[in-house]
């Protein structure tokens, strides 16, 4: 469950201030699929980043599951590494120097919620099978891989920050399993 109450985030540059999120109240329940639509510049990405912990809002509260992860009034802020979420970034954020396997496995091998190696392999292969990415040199649709990147970590909550994928815009990404 994601709960957002009276969230406000402003970006200041010199004397100008851009009000990206201004008093947003939102609740997304378990197993619910929620889509945020809006014009570019309306604050969608900023809202998602606040939920992920990459931006620190100056007012309002965010609750993930049972845990208050951010509250400006109460001085609470849990850093992104400690929040149990997965996120797909606008730029895809695929690590170009790692293989497909390493990309998907990275949170499990190096994150704070590490798993033993055998389990990692199991999890990652399971996730990749869902995407139908065979071994060897595979062309995998970027968006597909990343939709399931979030799922491979222990995250219960998934934040794909991508516009609704238009067929023409799907890009093919060639990564190999072995280096």
């Amino acid at each position: 469950m994601i709960g957002i109450r009276s969230l406000r985030k402003t970006f200041k540059t010199g004397t100008d201030a851009a009000q990206a999120v201004d008093g947003v109240d939102l609740q997304v329940n378990e197993k619910e699929f929620f889509a945020l639509l809006g014009l570019s510049g309306s604050g969608k990405t900023t809202l998602l980043r606040c939920v992920a912990g990459l931006e620190r809002p100056e007012a309002g509260e965010i609750v993930l599951g049972e845990q208050v992860v951010s509250s400006a009034e109460r001085g609470i802020f849990i850093s992104p590494e400690d929040r149990a979420i997965g996120m797909v970034f606008p730029s895809y954020a695929v690590w170009p120097h790692m293989t497909v396997f390493e990309n998907v496995a990275f949170p499990l091998t190096d994150g704070k919620r590490k798993l033993p190696r055998a389990k990692v392999r199991e999890r990652v292969m399971g996730a990749l099978e869902m995407v139908q990415a065979p071994g060897g040199n595979a062309s995998v649709t970027k968006s597909r891989v990343l939709r399931y990147l979030g799922r491979s970590s222990a995250g219960a909550i998934n934040l794909p920050d991508r516009s609704w994928p238009m067929p023409a815009q799907r890009s093919k990404l060639s990564l190999s399993f072995a280096r």
Binding site: G3, G53, G86, P90, W95, H97, F106, P107, D110
Partner: protein
């Protein structure tokens, strides 16, 4: 809409230190402290008299004696004239080369570009030695030749003059000025020039009324930069000027610390140093103003079309003639002169008799000299350890400067940058003073470790320039994705950022390693019999009268260096650190 009142409140752990981030901060902080500490030591030094460790009241007497002594003014004027000649030689040359390579269709550009880019690395003091062998009034080969040919009574060319050393220094700095100016020319928006030609303005007028005004801020920043380099220069004034009683700021300070008689005058050198620090910092103000202005005229987008190059036609001969003449004067002649002298028992004009006397005897005589081998070993040690430390510390600093949101990251960047404009010999001076001060407690003075430390401290300024540039190009979201995946900051630095900036890391490593090889200025202030390096060994020979031996070691040094520099050049070209084409 109300949030369920049962929501668990788990405070983030305010008392737990994020060791991951702290470790990066500690490394960066140590470097910054060292830089600032050494600078403050210079000021502190200037306020005391006597030998380090000797109790002394704080006094302005050093400044008083500096201001009262006509010698100080002579040194200042000498330095100014020297710098002026250096700029007058290096900047026009750099501009011509940059224009030829970036703006015309000169054939075989890549060769010229590579030679100029790598030319910066060759040891300056070796070139200076070569010029002594060429144009010194008493022993210069060219002079002897001309005197014999024309039956002259006195030498027509004299390199041991202020103009002479300015000329040599200018030649050695021309590649640096080329690199700076060509970057400016490359970034210039071609549309501005083409708009002029579309409106019927002829090429010459366009150059004067459009191109020159657009490029002058970059030119000015290059001139100011050259000036800071020139006033700090030691190699050329040290090799040519000192023995002939010409003292610039750097050699004057050296002489104060290594006098023929009496005790080293640390206090006075501190006063000179403090003034120099102030001057170089003040010079940074117009430098950054000019730089900012030049950026306004640059292309905003990364890759833009390049304007049609000027067709040289048969003028390419003049173009390559200029380049050829430069390479001849700056590299070929002096290095050949050194090689020639190393083969002879005493300096002679090339002739058949001289050829008969030529042999490799010197080389076999010095080859297994234990002092020389120790110097070579020390140099190797420096070449491996110094760049490694620099790369590690620069990574930490650059990460904080480019990736963190810490408020004082701009100050950190400024501190890391300081050793660029501030003469490096002052850092060496300060660390020597400091080492003497603590010599009872920590036996650092006269060891190779002081040298190591000051090289690292000064060249972090270079490392951070390279790595700032590299790190900025890594998309922020690559880090954030890892963060969201739960990876700690230190791990992100090691497993995400470092692999992606590897070309920059390798480039910085190799460049600083080669710099450690060629460095004379800082070494000369710190070397002791126990901690010689190749450059100081040659320096010792040179000033001890062993010109021929100095020449022989110089040849060995260059022979060993050439494959290193060549492989670096190949690597840098492949990694596009040196542009492979002007387009």
């Amino acid at each position: 809409m109300a949030i369920s009142g049962n929501a668990l409140v788990l405070k983030s752990r305010p008392s737990a230190i994020d060791w991951s981030q702290a470790s990066i901060g500690i490394v960066a902080g140590t470097a910054a402290l060292a830089i600032v500490g050494l600078l403050l030591t210079i000021v502190w030094m200037s306020l005391r008299t006597g030998v380090p460790g000797q109790p002394s009241p704080y006094t302005l007497s050093n400044y008083a004696s500096l201001l009262a002594d006509p010698y100080s003014y002579r040194v200042m004027v000498t330095t100014l004239i020297f710098s002026a000649v250096t700029i007058a030689v290096s900047v026009p040359l750099g501009f011509v080369f940059a224009w030829l390579i970036e703006r015309t269709d000169l054939p075989y550009k890549a060769v010229a570009m590579s030679l100029l880019s790598i030319g910066i690395l060759f040891p300056t003091f070796l070139k200076a030695m070569g010029w002594v062998f060429l144009c010194h009034p008493r022993i210069g080969v060219i002079n002897i030749f001309l005197m014999q040919l024309f039956g002259l009574k006195s030498a027509p060319l004299n390199i041991a003059t202020l103009g002479g050393i300015g000329f040599v220094q200018g030649l050695t700095l021309a590649p640096l000025s080329y690199v700076m100016i060509s970057a400016a020319l490359r970034g210039m928006n071609p549309a501005l020039v083409e708009a002029a030609s579309v409106h019927g303005v002829n090429k010459w007028r366009t150059l004067v009324r459009v191109e020159l005004p657009l490029v002058w801020p970059a030119l000015l920043s290059a001139i100011i930069w050259m000036f800071t380099v020139a006033i700090a220069a030691f190699d050329v004034p040290g090799v040519i000027g000192m023995a002939n009683n010409i003292f610039t700021f750097s050699t004057a300070v050296y002489f104060m610390i290594n006098p023929n008689e009496g005790l080293p005058r640390y206090g006075l050198s501190g006063a000179y140093g403090t003034i120099m620090v102030g001057l170089s910092l003040i010079l940074m103000i117009p430098y950054f103003i000019a730089l900012k202005q030049s950026h306004r005229y640059q292309i905003i987008s990364g890759k833009s079309y390049q304007s049609r190059p000027v067709e040289l036609g048969r003028w390419w001969i003049l173009g390559w003639g200029t380049l050829g003449a430069y390479f001849l004067l700056a590299f070929v002649l002096p290095l050949l002169a050194i090689f020639w002298v190393s083969l002879l028992p005493y300096v002679q004009v090339p002739s058949w008799q001289a050829l008969a006397a030529a042999s490799f005897e010197r080389y076999s005589a010095i080859a297994f000299d234990s002092a020389l081998l120790q110097a070579a070993l020390n140099t190797l040690l420096l070449m491996v350890i110094v760049p490694t430390l620099i790369v590690v510390m620069s990574s930490a600093i650059s990460w904080i400067v480019t990736r963190s949101r810490l408020r004082w990251r701009v100050a950190l960047d400024a501190i890391a940058f300081l050793p660029h404009p501030v003469p490096n010999l002052l850092f060496a001076l300060a660390i020597a003073y400091f080492a003497l001060l603590v010599s009872n407690v920590i036996p650092l003075y006269g060891t190779i470790f002081v040298l190591m430390a000051v090289y690292v401290i000064c060249w972090i300024s270079f490392g951070t320039r390279v790595l700032n540039n590299s790190m900025i190009q890594v998309h922020r979201e690559l880090e954030e994705a890892a963060q969201v995946g739960g990876v700690s900051t230190f791990r992100i630095l090691c497993k995400v950022i470092v692999p992606l900036i590897r070309p920059g890391l390798v480039y910085a490593w190799i460049w600083t390693s080669l710099s450690a090889y060629r460095e004379l200025t800082m070494a000369v202030f710190l070397a002791s019999p126990k901690s010689q390096v190749l450059s100081t060994y040659i320096w010792g020979q040179w000033h001890g009268g062993g010109l021929g031996d100095a020449a022989a070691i110089a040849v060995i040094m260059m022979t060993v260096m050439s494959p290193l520099v060549t492989s670096f050049w190949i690597y840098a070209r492949r990694q596009q650190h040196i542009a492979t084409s002007a387009a």
